[in-house]
Symmetry: C2
Subunit: 291 residues, 2 copies
Amino acid sequence: MAAQLIDGQAIANQIQQEIKEQVAARVAAGKTVPGLATVLVGGDPASAMYVSMKQKRCAKVGITSFHVELPADISQEALEKKVADLNADPKVHGILVQLPLPKGLDEERVLQAIDINKDVDGFHPLNIGRLAQKGREPVFLPATPAGCIELLIRSGVKMEGANAVVLGRSNIVGMPVALLLVERNATVTICHSRTKDLPGLIRQADILIAAVGRAEMVKGDWLKEGVVIIDVGTNKIETDDEKGYKWVGDVDFEAASKVAAMITPVPGGVGPMTIAMLLQNTLKAAALADG
Amino acid sequence: MAAQLIDGQAIANQIQQEIKEQVAARVAAGKTVPGLATVLVGGDPASAMYVSMKQKRCAKVGITSFHVELPADISQEALEKKVADLNADPKVHGILVQLPLPKGLDEERVLQAIDINKDVDGFHPLNIGRLAQKGREPVFLPATPAGCIELLIRSGVKMEGANAVVLGRSNIVGMPVALLLVERNATVTICHSRTKDLPGLIRQADILIAAVGRAEMVKGDWLKEGVVIIDVGTNKIETDDEKGYKWVGDVDFEAASKVAAMITPVPGGVGPMTIAMLLQNTLKAAALADG
């Protein structure tokens, strides 16, 4: 059996095309241009790269991005003041504070300072609280977990009644994606580093979300025939070729492809979806601000 | 095999004795008497009974209770104003709004209006959000889920690495207890009405939390030998005797007792723990207010 590839890049491109058309329609109707503020605190190169990618994609779909660079030694008060200014700025519809923050800053307090109607990253503690509660709608869904669900939806995968195994319980992926799957009526098992007999549990999955950050940890013989795999892991490993490295997921892609019904590649699976969902949230934020 | 009984009434009595001593020690040290405000909206007899039970137990441990009764047709604004008054009252350390609220009132907004440092029921959306996130501590844990965990702790049940199955995903029990079990490093499976092969899944549980509200739904042959069962269900069923009814849990107690290592009875299991944890939260709230 050769698994069908879930082409995250193609799906993300399609979503971005949809967003671009909706932004153009907004502007043609005399409404505001959606605006995203990206806040980068400190000089971490990976964070700087992520922010730069987000800005470029904003430009592609017609969303204005406002970049704010702050020193790593900024005080909590000054950072919250900056967030408050962005909350008050009518041109800014979404605020993204790139995580992780440098040491010494209280991440939860900063996230909580963001106006919940501008929290396009979906990490405001209130948004997460609503995600965990039936009958309460978060204003925005966190981008990567929402991207995982969107890949399943657009690939026609039935979540209701499926056994979904989530490997990893991080704040930004594992836990929220588990909550989203419960909301969609999947039976959800949350596995992690302390789980016993991981292969046995994963072998029961109809849907596997791997978000643990360990290169090719999940082996082919851990999988049930016909499983659908969303691989969130992006791990750099050394290679013998000229380049010297490559990116791999949390799942052994080659072996898994022989067993799974569908699988996301790494790169080109979940990665492109994260930014697409962020852009979608920003568009939604602009619509919310229309009143 | 005859299961060991987890005697929730005895454990709750012990906790209440501990609280009583701590309250007396506070007062002897010249600190405030802990105060709990109970807010009853409308005349639902079950809600009125729960509130009355809570007040009586407060009195037993030396906590002052302040009762507020409001008409079912109170406006959202008036109810939130009442909550604001209680937030401002220094004699009131904990505020309990008895749920469910009558139709037409926005429960989430009311819960969110409670000062998070007085949210002794632990249902403030921020508290739930923190529960779902690593490294973020809720100020208070919701009483019934915390009671389930406390029963496991005081019975010496190891949660780390255990396969825990939570049957039910309600806002007030199933979902928060699942989050608490993940925090304690259990591998957690959340099952519900849409789950396929419930017996097969439950048979894998080392720990089963049944919180689905269906009388004796879980059968003896659904259980693994040696499972620990916390039965949150309290279901009234008809009987042929003079009384005409009895209370049973979500698990067939008689059959389960032959297979399980430990099991809570119904009544006398989780029930008494809910109020004990509420009293504990109120004591904690008073300590928080000391500064």
